[in-house]
Amino acid sequence: MDAFTTHTGVGVPLKRSNVDTDQIIPAVYLKRVTRTGFEDGLFAAWRGDPDFVLNDPTYADGSVLVAGPDFGTGSSREHAVWALQNYGFKVVISSRFADIFRGNSGKAGLLAAQVDEKVVQSLWDWLEDHPGGVITVDLESRTIRAGAGEDAVEDSFDIDDYTRWRLLEGLDDIGITLGHDDRITAFEASRPAWKPVTA
């Protein structure tokens, strides 16, 4: 996984709450056996609407999604994270993420930045005044910044310390865990014999 320190990119307002992973990518797009090529399925049902934000050329280079609360609810499909990444998103900002989506983002290297609901509204307002404006997300200082001067938006965001450290270092979880192989082996030796096996 590539390390993530800071990102500056075009902010895209997604003014909806409860954007579930079926909305992010419907099941019929989940048949690929690779981690790439899911961008066509991203928000598939809404892409047909000419007024949908991703169809606005202003946001053609969008990479920071600013969404309403309860983003990523529902299915555990990591394809939702891949679809956002395949399309070009590096960061999703929301006031509340579903647990599995947040976990998947951390593993796959998409930054899920949790902010106060007021901050989402401020960013939406700022993007309305500055269509195509860029947002800077700094993982080191856990801050979000849009614009300069009087109407600038600057605030902090939440991310757990461990995920932040892994993203900053670009570390592979499995490698870290295999460093504790002796502990896993010792645990296995202590399991009761009646626990079920599939083989």
């Binding site: 909806r16 709450s17 409860n18 579930d20 079926d22 909305q23 419907p26 099941a27 019929v28 989940l30 048949k31 690929r32 056996v33 690779t34 981690r35 598939a44 049902a45 309403g68 609360p69 309860d70 609810t73 529902g74 299915s75 555990s76 499909r77 990591e78 394809h79 994270v81 509340r96 579903a98 647990d99 599995i100 976990g103 998947n104 593993k107 796959a108 757990d160 310390d161 461990y162 979880d173 499995i174 870290i176 865990t177 295999l178 504790h180 502990r183 896993i184 645990f187 296995e188 399991r191 009761p192 014999a193 009646w194 626990k195 079920p196 096996v197 599939t198 083989a199």
Partner: protein, 468 residues
Amino acid sequence: MGKTLSEKVWDEHVVRSAPGEPDLLFIDLHLLHEVTSPQAFDGLRLANRTVRRSDLTLATEDHNVPTIDWDKPIADPVSRTQVETLRKNCADFGVRLHPLGDVEQGIVHVVGPQLGLTQPGMTIVCGDSHTSTHGAFGAIAFGIGTSEVEHVLATQTLMQSRPKTMAVTVNGTLPDGVTAKDLVLTLITHTGTGGGQGYIVEYRGQAIEELSMEARMTVCNMSIEWGAKAGLIAPDQTTFDYLADKPEAPKGADWDAAVAHWKTLRTDDDATFDQEIVLDASTMTPFVTWGTNPGQGAPLGANIPGPDDFDEPNDKVATEKALHYMGLTAGTPLREVKVDTVFVGSCTNGRIEDLRLAASILEGRTVAADTRLLVVPGSVRVRLQAEAEGLDQIFLAAGAEWRGAGCSMCLGMNPDQLAPGERSASTSNRNFEGRQGKGGRTHLVSVPVAAATAVRGTLSSPADLQEV
């Protein structure tokens, strides 16, 4: 101070704990299916890693398989490739697989319990959010993404931060005709889709204790629909009786040792939860959803709400959008909503008790002229049991379609989909926009409501049906 059930199970599985880091948890059972596993196996190959404990791993084909012509090659080449990829991966890495055509094939969350592999006090994961189903046995069970699937394959562990604990206490007894599905839909409308976020939930109280194992699975299945990390129920005699004759349950002295341990898996009297919700089952009624998330529901006897019925600006906007998508008008009685397709099945309501209940209502009745009823058993074993009891003949006589096992129309990944604008009453778990097919409109319902709706063609309960 005592511990809650989930804390006991969690603590028994901690391999390593360090300040400021997530716990490293050992995983007792890892379930796989074709959709969320191929990239994980690819990751293993790239890093030259193996499956650490193939003896704690089980795969089945469910999401993407057809429910007709299952003895023929899968028609859609992309779906076929995905299923064949699972077969190759399981062969290459030595994982037990129950493929299409095998007598143990079915929805992963139906197969685990019916084999007896799902047992109290276990940690169970699968690349599927409805893994919470297995919590009905007093296991900590939750859905994971594909990166985590790869992590479990390689290490048989997961890094997880300890969730907070919540009790959902359901006092009283469910009235006749009101099911576990109505109970959990009522709960989700009460909490909203994010109400359980960050919690492992223990369902308890008289109404929960009175549920059968299959009904408990229905409740735990939908834990994820209100955002909970997992949901579980303390094992009791109902649990032990269910497990006793299952093929993979412990036998002889092992059984005695297991039960002795399982009996310790209860929340201590002096334990405290971080949060508690209390509900009264005796006031519950058949409950259905009208919107586009499982928290947008109402009693079947109610009218469809409108934006003015909500205080929060977000709820007002969400209600307006949902009604627009669903093609519904605020104020309309739910009982007047006309339904095109009824789906009975899924990991929520595709077990033998569900099919028996549906058949008991459909016996001697027929499906409404312009309504379609699809009955999809959750597993091959469920299908064979239903056929042995003659339930398939009742469904066919009523004019229903009787299908093979799989996830089917719950998620509309195989050809079983709604057409744009088509409306369903579905015993499944999600009414998201397009969930059952692009433009499809879903009402989540219990099995009795599904069966009665199929007969009348509008949202109904068995109380609305004429005697036969």
